[in-house]
């Protein structure tokens, strides 16, 4: 089967669920763990990463006929770095508060190996439309993971959800903040990096349990390909 025969639906389900970057492939863990102390932070970085994936996949796919194997990696890096810098400038100009909160993690999207991974594994072998869909699906999967982890940590850490929504959506969104647990004393562990690791572990376990139940078989761990995880 040629790669380009894969249906768009399959690309979507692979990127968003079967090969979820955060929960299955375990790539890009550094930003995933670092910024997910609130839902909004996670959502913002997730959206920025999704946009990067779509644009870099598109560019790589358009240029794939020209890219000789020996220069493809530097070319990918150039393309991804340009795309990320454009997104960084736009966020700096239009979402200034969020830009300040996410800080270094916006430029660090460049180093998310999920992006170069999709460029190499998918976009360099497929035509533009499937490549953009693949970028969208992978980004969506990553974004959902970030939002879920952000929700778990924000809820346990400070008892709210969607705090700081005004940074992403404008001043009217201040009222979106939900105080789920009033008078929450603050649970520091959830806000610090160890809480991020534990939250991620719980999410991965939940996903595995779900998959095991769906397959209607005894609960077994889904084998995880960790070969590249240390690069994340």
């Amino acid at each position: 089967m040629r790669m380009s025969d894969i249906s768009l639906k399959k690309i979507l389900s692979d990127g968003a669920w079967q090969q979820n970057t955060g929960l299955v492939v375990l790539l890009g863990l550094c930003p995933l763990l670092a910024v997910t102390n609130t839902v909004i932070n996670g959502l913002a970085l997730g959206l920025a990463t999704m946009l990067t994936l779509m644009l870099s996949n598109l560019s790589v796919s358009v240029l794939r006929g020209l890219l000789k194997p020996e220069i493809r990696i530097p070319a990918f890096v150039l393309i991804i770095a340009s795309v990320v810098t454009v997104i960084e400038l736009l966020m700096h100009a239009f979402f200034y508060d969020l830009y300040r909160v996410l800080g270094i993690f916006i430029p660090l999207i460049v180093t998310n190996c999920a992006i170069i991974g999709r460029a190499e594994a998918f976009a360099s072998r497929n035509s533009p439309l499937p490549s953009v869909v693949d970028g969208f699906a992978t980004g969506l999967g990553f974004c959902i993971t970030l939002v879920l982890l952000g929700a778990v940590r924000e809820l346990t850490g400070r008892g709210t959800l969607l705090s700081g929504a005004n940074m992403l959506l404008g001043d009217w969104a201040s009222s979106l903040t939900l105080t789920i647990i009033p008078e929450h004393p603050g649970f520091l562990l959830a806000m610090l990096p160890p809480g991020a690791f534990m939250g991620l572990a719980l999410l991965i376990a939940a996903r595995n349990a779900w998959e095991a139940r769906a397959a209607n078989k005894p609960q077994t761990a889904i084998p995880i390909d960790v070969r590249d995880a240390h690069e994340a």
């Binding site: 240029l63 890219l67 150039l78 340009s82 400038l89 200034y96 520091l188």
Partner: protein, 215 residues
């Protein structure tokens, strides 16, 4: 491109073209966003300054009336101190100084210290820090009221020995489990007051005006 071209040169050229395209794209976007980014930075800065100096108390362009002073030995930090000067009809009202406390628990704590012409503190805010969340970060105005305790203080209130945290025999509270962060802030604010007292004249010195840029 003809067949005779060496593949290395071909690849190099291709990479060069991609780099060129990327650079052109970045230059374009930078051009489009540059002014807005500068504007955003200014808006943010002015917002912070106006939290401390009431907007009605001055009528000069705060962000333009700014000097940088170099006094690394006095402030125990190599970073230059930025000073915004507020004036009402040319008369000095207050200064807003951005100083760096070098001895936070995790390094530098950058502070905005507002002092009025009489030498009384209008307010202090933490601009950036890396203190431990939950322990040292009550120095932030968003996290606790501690930083507001500096308002209306001066070199006479308290006297010099009172400018320390309580554990060191001074007047300012420390936090449960964190003495170092508040100690660093108290020390930096005190230093700033001392500098202000010694250099008040120079701090309010108007910027040279009437410089003819055409010459």
């Amino acid at each position: 491109m003809n067949q005779a071209t060496h593949p290395v040169i071909r690849s190099g050229l291709l990479l060069g073209i991609i780099a060129l395209l990327g650079t052109a794209l970045l230059a374009g976007v930078n051009n489009l966003t540059y002014e807005r980014i500068v504007e955003q930075e200014k808006r943010r800065m002015l917002q912070q300054l106006n939290e401390i100096v009431p907007i009605v108390s001055y009528n000069n362009d705060l962000l333009e009336d700014v000097i940088k002073i170099e006094a690394p030995d006095f402030f125990r930090h190599p970073a230059p101190v930025t000073v915004y000067r507020a004036r009402l009809d040319e008369q000095p009202v207050s200064v807003m100084m951005i100083v760096t406390a070098p001895d936070g628990y995790n390094g530098d704590i950058r502070l905005l210290v507002g002092i009025n012409a009489a030498g009384t503190i209008l307010g202090v805010r933490v601009i950036s820090h890396r203190e431990t969340p939950g322990l040292g970060d009550p120095i932030e105005a968003e996290k606790s009221d501690w930083i507001f305790g500096f308002e209306h203080k001066s070199l006479k209130n308290p006297e010099s020995s009172g400018w320390a945290v309580k554990r060191d025999g001074g007047e300012f509270d420390q936090f449960t489990g964190a003495t170092i962060s508040p100690r660093a802030v108290v020390r930096a604010v005190h230093t700033t007051l001392l500098y202000f007292q010694a250099n008040k004249q120079a701090l309010f010195e108007p910027l040279p005006t009437g410089v003819d840029e055409d010459e």
